[in-house]
Symmetry: D2
Subunit: 303 residues, 4 copies
């Protein structure tokens, strides 16, 4: 938390037009001026100071430390690298979410921008053997700090005892994803200020309005405001695969077996030529509900 009197070098300034009002930390905006302790700046400057500058709670959202709408506008239509770069500038305490599939391009880009960056993926305990091998390959190839997150056994054992190992076929995937994916994810996100995902608009009808950046309403808590960057939001599958080929990025062997979108083994299947990639996921369910809970926010946007 910057204090009045902190020395200047602790702040990183950017030339942006936003007007900040940071009274709580003794930073006062007056007209076009910002006063920080005894210093005064043109209000056309603004800055990120990672976590410290984030609103402390959702109650404080009326007063974000960076202006989300402005950032959205800035990033709209930018290329993934530019979006990643912005994410890394605005937030220090952030991590890339890697699903073990084509979103590896994010890992490739991010590790070049910031060696040693935090990357996490969710090991649901039901991934394909190929996916585990792929995750390990990525871990070995890139200069990243990879965490593989697992579900809590208590919840898992209780679900399986009651409903068996394939409850999703009868009851839908939400309950199982809730334990195997959302639980561990929520645990990790609670410690972050922002995360970076590989979601794309062309993946699913539920993702048609996906923005490059947003407040993560699904995983922000009263105690922790969470932002979500989607650097690939407007890339097409073709662009992702061009990148993979051009940069010789490793890919999941399953992509050589007809799989496009890849999730858990029992809930993923190869697709036919010209089928939509999402038809390979939870194919027994309605397309409009095909979010696993990681990006559940997408489901409610349309209405």
């Amino acid at each position: 938390m910057p204090q009045i009197g902190d020395s200047l070098p602790m702040l990183r300034f950017h030339q942006t037009p936003s007007v900040l009002c940071l009274k709580s930390v003794g930073i006062i905006c007056e007209g076009k001026k910002i006063r920080f302790g005894e210093f005064e700046f043109a209000s056309s400057l603004y800055f990120s100071y990672s976590r410290s500058f984030k609103p402390k709670s959702l109650d404080d959202m009326s007063n974000p430390l960076f202006d989300l709408e402005t950032l959205k506008a800035e990033l709209a239509g930018q290329n993934p690298r530019a979006i990643l770069k912005a994410a890394l500038e605005y937030f220090h305490n952030l991590a890339v979410s890697f699903s073990g599939a084509e979103d590896v391009v994010l890992v490739d880009m991010a590790s070049r921008l910031k060696p040693g960056i935090s990357v996490f993926c969710l090991d649901t305990g039901r991934l394909h053997p190929e996916t585990y091998r792929f995750i390990e390959k990525v871990r070995e190839r890139y200069d990243i700090n990879l965490e593989v997150l697992n579900p809590a056994y208590q919840e898992l054992e209780s679900l399986v005892k009651e409903k068996g190992l394939f409850s999703f076929h009868g009851d839908g995937h939400t309950e199982c994803c809730g334990i195997r994916k959302v639980g561990p994810l929520r645990r990790r996100l609670a410690t972050l200020d922002a995360w970076i995902t590989g979601q794309r608009r062309d993946q699913n009808p539920t993702r048609l309005e996906l923005d490059e950046v947003g407040l993560d309403s699904a995983f922000s808590t009263p105690e922790n405001v969470l932002y979500k960057f989607n650097p690939l939001a407007k890339w097409t599958s073709a662009q992702v695969w061009d990148y993979i080929e051009a940069y010789d990025v490793p890919y999941n062997e399953l992509h050589r077996k007809g799989f496009v979108s890849i999730g858990c083994e029992p809930c993923t299947r190869p697709i036919l030529p010209n089928q939509h990639e999402r038809s390979g996921r939870w194919w027994w369910e309605d397309a409009a509900k095909k979010e696993c809970g990681l990006h559940a926010g997408n489901l409610h946007k349309g209405k």
Copy 2:
């Protein structure tokens, strides 16, 4: 069959110099004249009227019995069923070529238009097990007269003795395709007036100018003029797959394993998402040469 006295409009005249001798239907060729009933025409006219009207040899080609250019123009942009229908009207002695892949839509359409239609496919001896099962499935499902053609052992044994079972990797696929595909095909085509293939423009750079119908310059012989219909020429892969889904047409299981274009097992592989389907065929060779000899004519068109 035109009869003496048929009114003129039943015949479609074309400006060609061929001399016809159609005595059986009362059409007499005398010198450079044709008499049809009481009418007499310059022999520079010709017409098609199914088999009887086909030129008997390539020497006669300057004078085909139906005007290819007119037919081309008529069929240009027609839907596959219309093209198939025309093929079936113009030729009785024709067969559908089925490769064991998505061109099954042709078999589906053709068997509805003409139950018991001749269909042939080439069993190179190196197809995928899945492809044999698929061919059998098609044989059982449709009312067709299916022939499965095999190569001559003499040529095969001599090639393999000299170069082994994978000579195509070093020497290109032409020699092997020549024995396993082109030989048996040539044998069969020599007995036909026309054949129907599943080629599409979007399959390959070599097929960009593919027409709905053409003289098959590769397989016509001095003794036998051969026409080739490509009813799917202007369909996209997406249209083919829409048809397969809509009509519940059986498909090769390999399409569920990442395969799009399917040929012989050692020369076919699944493709990555967004790769061109032809990258799954003879991937060690140059894209511009990827014709197996069945449609070798495509290779020389561009120049």
Copy 3:
């Protein structure tokens, strides 16, 4: 713990010749008589009273409530069903351990002897997809109370963060098995008086001296004495498979793909004809160490 003066119905008598010496609970054996409080019985009777009759701790082992050596002798060479029956008579609080492989014969036998019997298996999070399907099949087929046990995420995440997903290749399988198998197993065994396993002598050089029953020195704790029954100890693989065929017992699909002994996916492989089944497990390690920790006791017997 039965007390002198307990009423008779609390004891279940069996006609067996063993002589019990239960001084600590006031049961005295005198020659061929047993005195229990004021009652006196012929020593040809003996009884099980499940947990109550088990020694309360390892300190008490000098005085087990049933005589292990006698039971060993009785069960030596008995068929698996007889051994299972004895296990079920002596212990109420016991469970069958099912590994997702051929030990399904135990589940088949046990569920016939005692419908609703407790069965548990260890879901390490790295099983083959086929194994999950098989476990579910077994769950649906038999009248059993199946628990699927999972590892604790804290230990797992910390191992993987440090050493990745395939640490066993470099460091041996003990550490990984410790977290994924032994941890959850220990947790479950701590609540049991006895467990039933599918171990066989012919599986591994480490199992050559396996008995039908024994004190489980690896998982007994100062607070809980644990017995272990191995009803298949002296069966051969051939007998197991005869049973599977004769009783139409479901089996893991992997057995149709060359797998014999089945464990975790990265640590299991199909074997060649005539290879020893154990060569399909942890093949990069020395045969004499191939126990996963479940039956670690086997490793020290020989010395």
Copy 4:
């Protein structure tokens, strides 16, 4: 061809009681004497001189040039290498039959004894992709003259046209094997004096009385007497696999997928642990009939 006057060293004598009658080359048998040119021998000697000394026809069989019974007795219980060696001594015009499976040990042994030896295998056109890769591997690894034999298209096309690609399921495998295996084999064997096969007694109930050498009654013709050596007759599967491991002999990848006995793809399947290897072949047929025609002689022996 030995001529009258050839010096003795050209002949190799063996102590056998057979009486030879080699008039055509000037060798006369008189009573118990053999005169060869001006030399005269006790008829208890006999010799092999490769093809020239073979009886010219079945009519001549009463008078074989080497005494089969003696050879049988000599080879009985010999190790495969000794049997191979004898075969190579007695016959120059012989070839090893290689099926693309574990009989590769024969190729390994034979190519060491006689570099450049003739080996043939039958490409039925329905082998597994893995088998073709394996055959090629063997071709590249050993100093052999490998021929891959194919069926005649006329018979194949006619069978398939009438009955489809899986007629063996309904009609039994004999007809299909007849065309795909026996035809090409017969063609090749007609040019040989002897062949060497990998048959073993333990493979099949039909092979229980298999000898190390015999007259091939199935493929001898009035014009050509054919002998058959089975060097592995008395080896067990375990011995074969010990050899493969000890000598680092390449093996068919299918052996890593649960396949033991390997034939055509649609007629071969992996077996379960402890199943007899032959249960993986033509499993819809009676075990006592499981010969493909190559060794049909085995079927009639028992009676």
